[in-house]
Symmetry: C2
Subunit: 578 residues, 2 copies
């Protein structure tokens, strides 16, 4: 279903309902470009750390516009053993609301625009009929301006908040809530009141109504009941970053803060590209691009799911590809997820034919986002510190800007097979086939004048020093500190031969730390307080407190979010809505 | 006529012919945005110098895309006393030619895109069917790459230039040229050879053919025979800047270099907004926006010209406005020019009913581009130094960033009427109604702590010092040094009361320096060698020589251009083509 400016309001209840009743949903975005700085190759260097990758994407990709947002909700019809889909294609454009509202500037990359044009993308629809939007801060400012003008027009000296405009179909619900709260306030013997679960939109109306009805203040908090529904995407890091940046708030400077923010906005994510690149799929899926993956998953040993679009929703035909329309891509992504999840079920004994989005089988893939072209870190871990591969076979080389790849091959010709990963004009990472060669190379280069070689560890050490970031790098092995939860047993997909991390060529990808030789820190009894210091509420510094406050406010305001309460007067339960 | 990627090649001869036979032509561009930095108000501060304005536009406007270029050629049909027009609408888009060719990034401003969308602008046509282009340097690089690949494919070690692909209809012409040159080279008694006039495209073919045929080199230069045909635009500074920047080469750092470059690319420009803002039009035209101007010029004392579109060209109907399509805007601009030129003719005795684009009557308007919202400098003078108004009633004020316009009004409340022109968050120009008040204001402020006031002259002096630019500022009166040519007598339009420069309110605009009290330096016998130092060929420094070389090459390469020759072996005469 196409959602544009003119039919947005009338269709919004359908969107809410689709999310409400869905088992899971898939998302996808179309952007006006990818990299506004270095070439995509330089943007995605093979030895980026997750932190570096995040910083690069933040710096060079956020000025593009997400102008089509695809959302496909999947609901399983048990009676008929089929999935029922509701697919939405939102055209979005930051049409200025008035002269005083933000006049957004966005970058277009010719190659991306040309590609979309060749796929028949309708730019006129985006620019003429795109749904306008504001992020939270912009909305707040606009409301303030509006309130001010209104109060000036009323001739009132003091600012009075305006009553909330409540849609007809919500009036009854809101009236009931108010009645409940007034009763609660009169009784006084009870310390808290829990309201019934409601949608994100209803919650917003409640907050606004209460803020207007009780100008002296009333403490209201959102109660978290569940992790939210599963949101599936394909190679979704940029989609997630853009969605938050464009519709919620500018991305935080720090990767850890980004992780916190993301798990607030999207409590449960699954990346089908990561899933397809991981055992047991890795060995039976050659090409993980969405189009190829979709084709592959129609063949044995996979079993394409029975899917049907809901009444009133146009159906997609996967035979005639409509790839790169966000709604269709989201739909395909959902199909891929179902096929792969069901395949995991088929490996059980007895086999399980239909694996749900809440199954333990897929838990190892939760909140891990695929990292494009990073040689030895398969994913960004949203729920804790990232994998730290030992890069003891990697050298950092600095050289004159005239050097080309061939010069590097010549320099290292004595060391057999090497892999080069350019950083910029005058430096690159060179990975040797054996770690023992590293010291030889460093020693040999000591008196060289035109170039300089250091070990990866030295390079990182100096970089950290210069940044004065107090973070320890362990050089023993891959380590993952999973602070938040004990290690989930889950299934281990050791069905095929395990490829060691150092071997050049095929990548080893696994969201299960054990598979990639990653040990769980907690289970070893090692504790690094600095690594564990990701909860800003525990940070004693004022800066930390500010962040904590910000994050708390965010948790309260964003519909998908939830937070524990201190001593709330009124509590709302949050259902699985968006 | 709509020119897109698919019909560009087949219609190119029509474009050449239209230009070839035209008396003059009008241009207009549509862009993806206006200001990528400060608000348009800050971009166009009321006391910008032409240098400052150029720098601002260069910095904040060149990242937008010119995606529709309008060209309307006007030819007078003497037999039927009417103008015959050929209007072209070029859709342009930097579609990447290959993976190694430039992947242009451009900025879009939501308000501009929204405005064009509301006018029915077809973005799909731009992005799907826009004519791709390269600037000169990009073309050179691509040719080099192509030559290199070709020579590698041929197995040749040395680079051999590829033969030029000459269109069928040009082969005879080129063969004749080659024959002539070979005869000349055999004779040897003559030192130069002048070829017949040719079009810009033919000249390009000749250069390419000779460069391939005589790999050892042959000295070829373009001989200037005429100033080129008149190109008319409305408020055309940005159009000119974008056209050069996008299709020719990045804009030079320095305003004087920009002027040199512009007069090479467009030897004769006329801005209808400047014309309409100047006497005798100023007093009878209230609104100089293109749409309003066009309406006004249909009424007395103006006489709308008889115009007809050429056969095979769709006609525009000015009654149903199609404003903001570049081809239509160019058409309207041409109409406005004709009406105003004819009005000038009607003031003569005996009256002249039809004033040509080569008439002396319009010479005072040549090569002067309207400067938007500058209070006391009506135009950018492309043919010499700019006007230097005395700003002895202007103060430069620095203050805390919390200050608002009202704070400034309060500060100067004792001085009567003032005008404020913001520079940035913490500074503004304040013009007082009388110059005598300036010193009082400066003295009063001497011990103030929160703000600082200096005279405009002090401000400029400090700015110049810090830039180490050796340019003298005269503070007596407006002065224009017209180095290149003796003062053209031309007509003086002193038909109405002359408004003095200092008076607040209505602007005095005139391209005739005498009208605005500007004196001609040469006629006064004053000579400032620094002001005259704009010919880089005379600059003894290496940097100057480099510039000279660059400009010379440019003159040689660009079709509209011309340059005097040193001692050319072969000379080409340049006709009025583009």
């Amino acid at each position: 279903m196409e959602i544009i400016r003119s039919n947005f309001k009338i269709n919004l209840p359908k969107v809410y309902q689709a999310i409400e009743e869905a088992d899971f949903f898939a998302i996808d975005g179309e952007f006006s470009g990818i990299s506004d700085g270095p070439s995509v190759t330089a943007l995605t260097s093979g030895f980026d750390t997750p932190e570096e990758r995040y910083q690069k994407l933040k710096k060079h990709s956020m000025d593009f516009l997400l102008f089509q947002f695809g959302l496909c909700a999947f609901k399983y019809d048990h009676a008929n053993s089929k999935h029922v889909t509701k697919s939405f294609n939102f055209y979005v454009f930051p049409k200025p609301f008035s002269r005083s509202s933000p006049d957004v500037k966005f970058v277009c990359q010719s190659s991306s625009i040309d590609f979309l044009a060749s796929q028949g993308f309708d730019f006129n629809k985006v620019f003429c009929s795109g749904i306008p939007y504001l992020n939270q801060e912009e909305e707040r400012q606009l409301r303030e301006q509006f309130d001010e003008k209104r109060s000036q027009a009323n001739g009132a000296g003091a600012l009075t908040k305006c009553p909330v405009t409540i849609p007809e179909d919500q009036k009854k619900f809101i009236d009931q809530v108010i009645e409940k709260i007034e009763g609660f306030l009169q009784r006084e013997e009870k310390r808290t009141l829990e309201l019934n679960p409601c949608t994100g939109f209803q919650r917003k109306l409640i907050y606004q109504t209460l803020s207007w009805k009780y100008p002296k203040g009333i403490h209201v908090e959102t109660l978290e009941t569940d992790k939210g529904k599963l949101v599936v995407g394909h190679n979704m890091l940029l989609d997630v970053m853009h969605t938050i940046h464009q519709f919620y708030c500018p991305l935080p400077v720090d990767l850890n803060e980004f992780k916190e923010m993301t798990t607030c906005v999207f409590p449960r994510l699954l990346d089908t590209k990561l899933m397809a690149s991981t055992q047991p799929f890795k060995d039976i899926i050659n090409n993980t691009s969405l189009a190829e993956l979709e084709k592959r998953l129609k063949e044995t040993p996979f079993d394409p799911p029975k899917v049907e679009s809901a009444e009133g929703f146009p159906s997609y035909d996967t035979a005639s590809e409509q790839l790169h329309e966000a709604g269709y891509d989201a739909y395909i992504t959902g199909l891929c997820f179902i096929s792969m999840a069901n395949y995991l079920g088929s490996l059980l004994s007895p086999p399980k034919t239909c694996v749900s989005a809440r199954s333990k089988l897929i838990e190892p893939f939760f909140n891990k986002l695929f990292l494009m072209r990073v040689m030895d870190i398969p994913y960004l871990n949203l729920e804790g510190p990232d994998l730290q591969p030992k890069r003891d076979h990697v050298l950092h080389v600095t050289f004159p800007k005239e050097w080309k790849t061939s010069d590097l091959y010549q320099l290292f010709s004595a060391f057999g097979n090497i892999q080069i990963s350019w950083i910029d004009d005058t430096s690159a990472f060179v990975s040797l086939s054996q770690p023992e060669q590293v010291q030889i190379a460093v020693n040999t280069s000591k008196y060289a004048e035109s170039y300089r070689i250091q070990t990866y560890a030295e390079y990182v050490g100096k970089k950290q020093e210069s940044k004065q970031v107090k973070r320890k790098w362990t050089e023993d092995s891959w380590k993952e500190v999973d602070r938040k939860r004990p290690h989930v047993p889950g299934p281990c997909y050791h069905t095929n031969s395990f490829t060691a991390a150092g071997i050049v060529g095929k990548r080893t990808l696994s969201p299960d730390p054990r598979e990639a030789g990653v040990v769980d820190r907690e289970s070893e009894g090692i504790s690094d307080p600095e690594l564990e210091q990701t909860d800003y509420c525990a940070d004693p510094l004022p800066e930390g407190r500010k962040k904590a406050k910000k994050l708390k406010r965010m948790k309260k305001e964003f519909s998908l979010a939830g937070s524990a309460s201190d001593s709330p007067a009124v509590l709302f339960e949050v259902p699985d809505t968006w």
